[in-house]
C-alpha cells in the first residue's frame, strides 16, 4: 500500500497543476498570463445570467410554411396545365395543403393523368361539381415542415453572423423550435427585429388607375389588386404615418433572385439607402419589367409593407436597384443583412424571451462569488474545529476538489451560471460528507481499540461503498436535471455532477494518501480526529 504513495502523490499534483493551467485563463488575471497559455486553453463561459444578454425561443410557423409552399405549387401546376392545354379555369390553393382545380369540361382524366405523372406529392382527395381537390401527401407535408425549420435555423444563423455578436449560440429544440442565445448583447430590440423579420421581398406594380382612397376607406379593392401600406415615422414628431397603396397582386420578382444587398449613401440628400444586386436571371427579368413599365411606379415590399414605390424612368439593365425610405444608418444596415441572409421560409414567433441587463449580471457575479467565499470559509473553519488535524486534511480535499472542478469546467468549455455557482457551493457542502463518513468510521474503529493505522485503513474500507452509493444517487438527479433543464438549470447540473465525480477521487484518494504518509514516516500514537 505505502509503496504507491509516490504514484498517488504524483497523480494528485498532476491533476492539481492541470486544473490550474486550465482554470487560470478564465480568471481576471488572464491578461497577465503569457499569450500562448491564454490563447490555447479552453475557457469557462459565463451564462447569460452572469454577463447579461438575451435568450430567445422561437417557434417556426410550419403550417404557414406548408401553406406558402402549396401556394407556390398551385401557380406552377396552373402553368403546367395551361401549357398542356387541359380544360381548366383556375388552380387555387385552399386551406393549408389543399389545391382546388376548377375545370370546364366533363372529363377530368387529362387533368388527373397530368397530375399523377408530374405531381406525385399530391393525391386526389375529392371531386365536387366542377372542382377537383388535391391534397399534399403526409410525407411531403412532414418534409416541408422539417425543411422549413432547418432553413429558418440556417437563415437566422446567417443573419446573426452578419449582425456580429460574439459567441452566439443557435440551436434547434424539439420539432419546430429554435433557441437563440446572444451573450453580452446590449441592443436587444434591434436583435429581435432582425431575427424576427420574415424578409420576404417582392416587387409589384402600382395600379395607377385604381381608386386608392376608396379602397382604403371602404375596403373595396378592384379585382386582381391588393391594398398595402407604407409606414413611416416622422423623425421630428414621432408620429407614425400610413400611406395606402393600391398594387397589382401579381409578384413580378422576389428576393430569391438577389445576390447582394449593401448600404450606400445618397450623395444628394446624405441619406443611407440599400443597394441590391440581382442574379443573372433576376437581372434579365428586372430589365424586362422596367422596359415594359416605363412611367409606372414599382413598389418594393418587404413582409407586406411597402418600403418605397419609385417611378420607373427608363429600362434598368445591369441588375441593380435601390431601396430608399428615409432610413437611419442602422435600419438600412439591418435591412441589408436580412436581404443578404435571405427570407425565412415561414414566420417565426418569439415564445420566450429572457433578457438580462449587463449590470444585473455584474451584481450576480459579485453576489455569487461573495457567497462562495463565505460558504467555503465557514466549512473550512467548521471542519478544522470539529475534526482538528483530520479536518485540515478534509479542507485540503475541498480545496483540491474546487480547483479541479473549475479546471474541468474550463476543459469542457462549460457554462457557469448563477445556479451553477450555487452548485459549486453545494458541492463543497456535500463533498465534505464523504470525509465525515470516513472520519466517523475511523473514530468508531478507534473506540473499538484498534491502532491508528488499522483504524484509518478500516475506516476507508468500510465507508467506501457508502460514499459511492451516496454519490451515485445525487448523480442520478444531476443527470436528469442536465437532460431536462435549459440554460441556468443545465449549468447547475453540470457543476453539480462534475463536482460529485471529482469528489469521489479527492475524498477516496486525496485524503488517504496524507494519512498513509503520516503513518509511513513514524509510528503514530494517536490520530487527531
Amino acid at each position: 500500500m505505502s509503496k504507491s504513495i509516490p504514484i498517488r502523490l504524483t497523480l494528485i499534483s498532476f491533476f492539481f497543476v492541470l486544473a490550474m493551467v486550465l482554470f487560470l485563463p478564465s480568471t481576471p488575471i488572464s491578461k497577465d498570463l503569457p499569450s500562448f497559455w491564454r490563447n490555447n486553453v479552453p475557457k469557462i463561459n459565463l451564462g447569460l445570467d452572469l454577463q447579461g444578454g438575451m435568450h430567445l425561443v422561437l417557434q417556426v410557423d410550419t403550417e404557414k410554411a406548408v401553406a406558402n409552399h402549396t401556394q407556390r405549387l398551385a401557380s406552377s401546376i396552373s402553368s403546367l396545365l395551361i401549357e398542356k392545354k387541359a380544360a381548366i379555369t383556375s388552380v387555387k390553393a385552399s386551406g393549408v395543403s389543399d389545391i382546388s382545380i376548377a375545370y370546364t369540361g366533363t372529363d377530368t382524366k387529362d387533368i388527373e393523368k397530368l397530375m399523377d405523372s408530374n405531381y406525385q406529392i399530391f393525391k386526389k382527395t375529392r371531386g365536387a361539381g366542377s372542382e377537383i381537390i388535391y391534397t399534399l401527401i403526409d410525407g411531403e407535408i412532414e418534409r416541408i415542415k422539417e425543411w422549413s425549420v432547418s432553413q429558418a435555423l440556417e437563415t437566422i444563423r446567417n443573419r446573426i453572423d452578419k449582425f456580429g455578436v460574439a459567441e452566439p449560440h443557435i440551436q434547434r429544440q424539439g420539432i419546430n423550435e429554435i433557441i437563440v442565445q446572444l451573450p453580452g448583447l446590449k441592443d436587444t430590440e434591434r436583435a429581435i427585429a432582425l431575427i424576427g423579420k420574415t424578409a420576404v421581398l417582392e416587387f409589384k406594380l402600382v395600379d395607377e388607375t385604381g381608386d386608392v382612397k376608396k379602397a382604403a376607406e371602404e375596403n373595396i379593392t378592384p379585382e386582381g389588386d391588393e391594398l398595402l401600406y407604407q409606414r413611416g415615422t416622422d423623425k421630428e414628431t414621432g408620429i407614425v404615418k400610413q400611406t395606402p397603396y393600391l398594387l397589382k397582386k401579381q409578384t413580378l420578382i422576389t428576393g430569391d433572385s438577389l445576390t447582394d444587398a449593401r448600404v450606400a449613401i445618397d450623395s444628394q440628400f446624405n441619406e443611407p439607402y440599400v443597394s441590391i444586386t440581382f442574379d443573372s436571371e433576376g437581372a434579365r427579368q428586372f430589365e424586362k419589367i422596367t422596359a415594359e413599365s416605363v412611367g409606372k411606379r414599382l413598389a418594393i415590399i418587404l413582409d407586406g409593407n411597402v418600403y418605397s414605390a419609385p417611378n420607373i424612368q427608363e429600362r434598368i439593365g445591369g441588375g441593380r436597384a435601390m431601396i430608399t425610405g428615409r432610413f437611419t444608418h442602422e435600419e438600412a444596415s439591418d435591412l441589408a443583412i436580412v436581404l443578404r441572409a435571405g427570407a425565412l421560409p415561414a414566420p417565426v414567433n418569439i415564445i420566450q424571451n429572457v433578457t438580462v441587463g449587463p449590470s444585473l449580471g455584474q451584481d450576480s457575479i459579485e453576489a455569487g462569488v461573495k457567497a462562495c467565499i463565505i460558504g467555503g470559509i465557514l466549512v473550512l473553519l467548521f471542519m478544522m474545529f470539529y475534526y482538528k488535524f483530520a479536518g485540515v486534511i478534509a479542507d485540503f480535499a475541498v480545496v483540491l476538489n474546487i480547483s479541479m472542478l473549475l479546471g474541468a469546467m474550463a476543459w469542457f468549455n462549460a457554462t457557469l451560471t448563477l445556479p451553477g455557482i450555487a452548485g459549486i457551493i453545494l458541492t463543497i457542502g456535500m463533498g465534505v460528507d464523504s470525509n465525515v463518513l470516513i472520519f466517523e468510521r475511523i473514530k468508531e474503529e478507534l473506540r473499538l481499540g484498534k491502532t491508528p493505522r488499522s483504524a484509518v485503513d478500516a475506516g476507508y474500507d468500510r465507508a467506501w461503498w457508502t460514499v459511492i452509493d451516496s454519490h451515485v444517487t445525487t448523480l442520478i438527479t444531476a443527470a436528469v436535471l442536465f437532460q431536462f433543464g435549459s440554460g441556468p438549470i443545465k449549468g447547475f447540473a453540470v457543476s453539480l455532477s462534475l463536482g460529485i465525480l471529482i469528489n469521489l477521487f479527492t475524498a477516496l484518494v486525496g485524503t488517504k494518501v496524507i494519512f498513509d504518509m503520516m503513518h509511513q514516516r513514524r509510528r503514530v500514537e494517536r490520530v487527531s480526529i
Partner: protein, 296 residues
C-alpha cells in the same frame, strides 16, 4: 472532538408522532401538487406565461405611485415588488391577453412617461408565451418522475426492494413537504424551485442511503436484537455523521441565503428547508417504513 457521547435515542419508538407530522406535510404537499397545475398558485412567469420586468431606478420609487401608474396604463392585474436597498422594482404580469412583447414594451413606456425625472435601466425582462409555460410544467413533472424512478431502481438494486420503496417514499415526502411549505407561504413556484426540489431529492436520498447502509451492515451481523432495536442502533451510530454533514451543508446554504443575491434567494431557501426535512425524513420516515414493511 465529540460534543456528545454515544447516543441511544429511541427513534422508531416515536414513529407515530413522526407519521402524524409527515402525513400532514405530505398532504399539504399533495394539495399543492394538485392545485399548482390548475394554476391556483403563485406560478412563476416561466410556468404561467406572461411578463416579468425588473427596473433599476436612479432614485427610490414609491410603490403605491408605481401601482397607480400601472393601473392608469391599463395593466390592472400586475404584481409589484420592490427591492428598497437598490431602488429596484420588479413588475410581473401573468397570463396576459395578447402579444407578450407588446405588453412589456407598454409597461416600459408607462414608466418612461410616468417618472420622467427618475431615469431607470432595464435589469432584466422575461417574456413567456402561454404554450411554452404549459410545456415547461409538463417537462418538470417528467423530470421529477424520471429521477424518482432512477433512484428507486438504484436503491432497489443496491439494497433490497423494500429499501428502494422506503427511500422513494421518504424522497417523495421531502419534495412534497417543501413544495407544500412554499405553496402555503405564497412563494413563487418557478423552474429554479423545481431544480431545488430535484437537488434536495438527491440530497435527502444520500442521507437515507447512509442510514440504510448501516442497517444492512448490522443486519448481516445477525445479532439477537429485534428489528426495531437494530434500526434504532443503526440510526444512532450514524447520527453524528448525519448531524455534522447537515450542519456543513446548512452553513453553505446560509451563506447563499445571506449573500447570494436576490436571484437565487428562494432557490437557496428551498434547499435550506429541504436539507432540514431531508435529514428528518431519513431518520423518522425512511427507516420506520422499512420496519413496518419487514414486520409484516
Amino acid at each position: 472532538m465529540d460534543i456528545w457521547g454515544e447516543t441511544r435515542i429511541d427513534f422508531v419508538g416515536k414513529r407515530n408522532y413522526a407519521f402524524l407530522l409527515s402525513g400532514m406535510l405530505a398532504i399539504l404537499g399533495l394539495i399543492a401538487a394538485v392545485l399548482i397545475p390548475m394554476g391556483r398558485a403563485n406560478l412563476g412567469v416561466d410556468f404561467a406565461g406572461g411578463v416579468s420586468i425588473q427596473l433599476k431606478f436612479e432614485k427610490p420609487v414609491a410603490i403605491d405611485e408605481a401601482r397607480k401608474l400601472m393601473e392608469s396604463g391599463g395593466f390592472k392585474d400586475s404584481e409589484l415588488q420592490e427591492f428598497k436597498a437598490d431602488s429596484k422594482l420588479l413588475i410581473r404580469l401573468k397570463k396576459p391577453e395578447g402579444d407578450v412583447r407588446k405588453i412589456s414594451e407598454g409597461i416600459i413606456n408607462v414608466f418612461t412617461n410616468g417618472f420622467p425625472d427618475n431615469k431607470f435601466i432595464i435589469d432584466s425582462t422575461e417574456e413567456v408565451g402561454p404554450t411554452i409555460g404549459k410545456r415547461l410544467q409538463k417537462d418538470a413533472l417528467w423530470a421529477v418522475s424520471i429521477s424518482l424512478l432512477g433512484i428507486l431502481t438504484y436503491v432497489a438494486w443496491r439494497f433490497e426492494f423494500v429499501f428502494g420503496v422506503a427511500a422513494v417514499i421518504a424522497t417523495f415526502h421531502d419534495v412534497l413537504a417543501v413544495l407544500g411549505i412554499f405553496y402555503v407561504s405564497g412563494k413563487e413556484i418557478n423552474l429554479l424551485i423545481i431544480t431545488a426540489l430535484l437537488t434536495l431529492a438527491g440530497y435527502s436520498l444520500t442521507d437515507t442511503v447512509v442510514v440504510f447502509d448501516r442497517i444492512r451492515e448490522n443486519l448481516r451481523k445477525r445479532t439477537k436484537e429485534t428489528l426495531a432495536q437494530l434500526i434504532n442502533r443503526s440510526i444512532n451510530e450514524v447520527l453524528r455523521r448525519t448531524i455534522v454533514t447537515s450542519t456543513t451543508v446548512l452553513l453553505v446554504l446560509a451563506a447563499l441565503l445571506a449573500a447570494g443575491g436576490e436571484v437565487i434567494h428562494d432557490f437557496s431557501l428551498a434547499l435550506f428547508i429541504g436539507v432540514i426535512v431531508g435529514t428528518y425524513s431519513s431518520i423518522f420516515v425512511a427507516s420506520p417504513v422499512v420496519l413496518l414493511w419487514k414486520k409484516k
